[in-house]
């Protein structure tokens, strides 16, 4: 059976593409390895709707984030939690930036940055600046419900769950995919498999993205009254962030040093845990780390200790549960800390496009390539 477009991965990028093309009347198939949508990185991350604060060393990333921020709020405001104080602070020690630098950066990028006394949130001497900023958090579950409802209304779009792509072949006019035991054909394939992106590229012999992989842990916490409507991010270095996790009422706790548990520098993810009995990764395909019996021991001890070192005692928080996911990081973005959204077209007619992005609000970048190829 032939489709106008086949999209690999039912994360935000995959479903956004499916809806975009579906609304144009195209016949679209989404192939998802897990049993549901938004089960990996779209759900398991800090849920930031990036305004650009996070990238004080990459002005271009910051400006682009700020631009898409408004549009995302207009389109998906219903899933965005806005009523809390998002505080960014610069650590006095070990930071790549400082208070004056951060102020200058925000002014240049044209984003809000109001000084607040660091002593309001932090123990003495640990932060040299604290700023009230405009940044929000999205709720992946609410967003998922919206997309699934929208797609259900489009009879020309199908989402196939439990269908990991195990083989792809390039024919003269189309690609032939094997997923979940069935065969599918399309002249236009979008590879939005995030951490699985290189595994798919390898099947076709295309050049893989220059990425490394980090097995990451995000901890969900219940918080004290004082912290309920506050999000705190200490930057830019080996620090932490504790901020509302969408509209769940919980906070997510992450840290630069303790969130990544182990790292793989190969083109496709290779980890010791994959070899263990009962591991979910099979035949080079990445399983869902969060469901795996071999997910690492939680780094709660370290992350909580780090956050407590900085935060004043009244900003209390307690462990609720951990979420694990695999995060691909472009190697080129290490030095300047940019997190570009990379969209690469590997083949035209038949068309093969891969996307790799760590931010939700740059999803709009996809429109151009989808519209182009569809003509």
């Amino acid at each position: 059976m032939s489709w106008d477009k086949i999209i690999i991965g039912a994360g935000l990028y995959g479903l956004y593409c499916a809806r975009f093309c579906g609304l144009r009347g195209e016949r679209v198939l989404v192939l998802e390895a897990d049993s549901g949508a938004f089960c990996r990185a779209t759900y398991i991350n800090q849920a930031r709707v990036h305004m650009g604060y996070h990238y004080p060393r990459s002005y271009s990333t910051a400006v682009k984030s700020a631009g898409y921020f408004r549009r995302f709020l207009d389109d998906y405001g219903f899933c965005v939690h806005t009523s809390f104080d998002q505080v960014y602070a610069t650590s006095a020690a070990y930071s790549w930036t400082n208070a004056a630098e951060f102020r200058r950066f925000c002014a240049a990028a044209g984003i809000r940055c109001d000084d607040v006394p660091p002593s309001r949130y932090f123990n003495p001497g640990l932060c040299d600046g604290a700023f009230l900023t405009e940044e929000y958090t999205y709720d992946a579950q609410v967003l998922k419900e919206y997309f699934l409802k929208e797609l259900a209304a489009l009879p020309n779009v199908r989402v196939q769950y439990g269908a990991p792509v195990t083989a792809i072949e390039q024919k003269a006019t189309h690609f032939e995919l094997t997923a979940g035991g069935a065969r599918y054909e399309s002249g236009f394939v979008v590879n939005a498999a995030y951490a699985g992106v290189n595994t798919i590229l390898q099947m076709l012999g295309y050049e893989p993205f220059g990425i490394k992989y980090e097995l990451c842990e995000i901890i969900l916490c219940t918080v004290s009254e004082r912290l309920r409507d506050v999000g705190i991010t200490v930057m830019d270095g080996p620090f932490f962030s504790i901020m509302p996790f969408g509209k769940t009422g919980l906070h997510s706790l992450t840290s630069v040093t303790f969130t990544p548990h182990s790292t793989s520098y190969e083109a496709t993810p290779h980890f010791a845990c994959q070899q263990k009995e009962g591991a979910l990764c099979r035949g080079g395909l990445l399983g869902n780390c969060d469901d795996c019996p071999h997910k690492p021991r939680s780094a709660w001890d370290y992350m909580s200790q780090l956050a407590r070192k900085y935060l004043r005692e009244e900003y209390g928080f307690a462990y609720q549960r951990s979420l694990f996911s695999m995060k691909p990081i472009l190697k080129a973005s290490e030095i300047d800390d940019s997190r570009p959204t990379v969209i690469r077209t590997f083949s035209k007619a038949p068309t093969f496009v891969s996307v790799l992005s760590g931010k939700i609000n740059t999803v709009y970048d996809m429109e151009e390539v989808l519209a182009d190829g569809g003509e």
């Binding site: 006095a92 020690a93 001497g125 640990l126 080996p238 548990h261 182990s262 021991r297 001890d301 200790q305």
Partner: protein, 314 residues
């Protein structure tokens, strides 16, 4: 067993400078002690630009031993001495209690590590452990002068490691962000300090003061004691006596037959003027050096990289 372990998070900061030969043995001991006693702990080694492959020795240790918890290595860009290096480690440490090991060698009874922790739990924010007898003459002299002129209620002495509570670290940072001399800053923090001693018959702790160079000693004396002030005061007093003497001498000459026209008034002016100049200069110089030390040392230390070596994730 796990249930009996301490619930507090312990950090150990270790100063490493050309210690490739002994760092492995030290880490074995330290991991042993912490693993046995603490549920949660971390070890941070500050590599003060060692030239003998200390960094590689630590990586080899982690590869071979796979301890339960990770090891963090802070590599300093250039050699910056013990005080700055330990500040770098201290700033990274996240523990409720932080052990500061000035050198990676346990030539004291290992029980002292946990004894210092138990002492801290009885209500002391700072516990310092040292040999009963200060070994070197120079050290004795330094501590003698320091303690004589220090405003703190505690006497400092040679110590081999100390345990500091998070509260004490917050306190000293609230007072002054740059710790020129940690020991003195802790002693002056106003929190309770306790010294533990062990017998060191062979004087093995002798070489441990290597980081405390002369200029650090002078800085510390100027910042944490009033020795400098007292020295300048004594100098002024000597000059006062001298100028007073020359003044009297001038007056005597004036009334004697040897009186020379113009000389006496010049001498009076000179004596008085120089007295004032020396007095003001000594004070100004002292405060200037203090201000330079406090204001212009913003970049505290230069870190090249921080490595986190994973232990066995289990």
């Amino acid at each position: 067993m796990a249930g009996n372990k301490e619930k507090n998070f312990a950090s150990a900061v270790v100063y490493v400078k050309n210690d490739a030969a002994r760092i492995g043995g030290f880490l074995t001991c330290l991991y042993g002690i912490l693993e046995e006693n603490f549920e949660k702990y971390e070890i941070i080694c500050v590599n003060d630009n060692s030239s003998d492959g200390s960094g590689e020795a630590m990586r080899a240790f982690m590869r071979e031993n796979r301890p339960a918890r990770p090891l963090t290595i802070v590599n300093l860009s250039i050699s910056q001495g013990m005080e700055l290096a330990m500040n770098a480690g201290l700033d990274l440490a996240i523990g409720d209690f932080v052990f500061e090991f000035d050198r990676p060698q346990m030539d004291y009874p290992q029980e002292m590590v946990m004894e210092s922790y138990r002492t801290a739990l009885t209500g002391f924010d700072i516990v310092s452990v040292g040999p009963r007898r200060t070994p070197r003459l120079a050290s004795r002299l330094f501590y003698g002068v320091f303690n004589r002129y220090s405003k703190s209620q505690y006497q400092l002495g040679t110590d081999v490691f100390r345990l500091v509570s998070r509260r004490a670290i917050h306190r000293v940072h609230a007072v002054n962000p740059t710790l020129v001399y940690r020991k003195a800053a802790y002693a002056a923090s106003g929190l309770k300090l306790r010294q533990l001693f062990y017998d060191d018959p062979c004087g093995r702790a002798a070489g441990q003061e290597r980081g405390y160079r002369t200029d650090l000693a002078l800085d510390s004396l100027a910042l944490y004691t009033d020795a400098a002030y007292k020295v300048s005061l004594s100098v002024s007093l000597v000059f006062l006596a001298l100028t007073l003497f020359s003044g009297i001498y001038t007056v005597v000459i004036y009334f004697s037959r040897a009186h020379i026209e113009g000389w006496t008034t010049t001498m009076l002016l000179l004596s008085g003027g120089f007295f004032g100049v020396f007095l003001v200069l000594t004070i100004v110089v002292k405060y200037l050096s203090l201000l330079v030390g406090l204001v212009f040392r913003r970049q505290k230390y230069l870190v090249e990289s921080v490595e986190k070596l994973q232990g066995d994730e289990g």
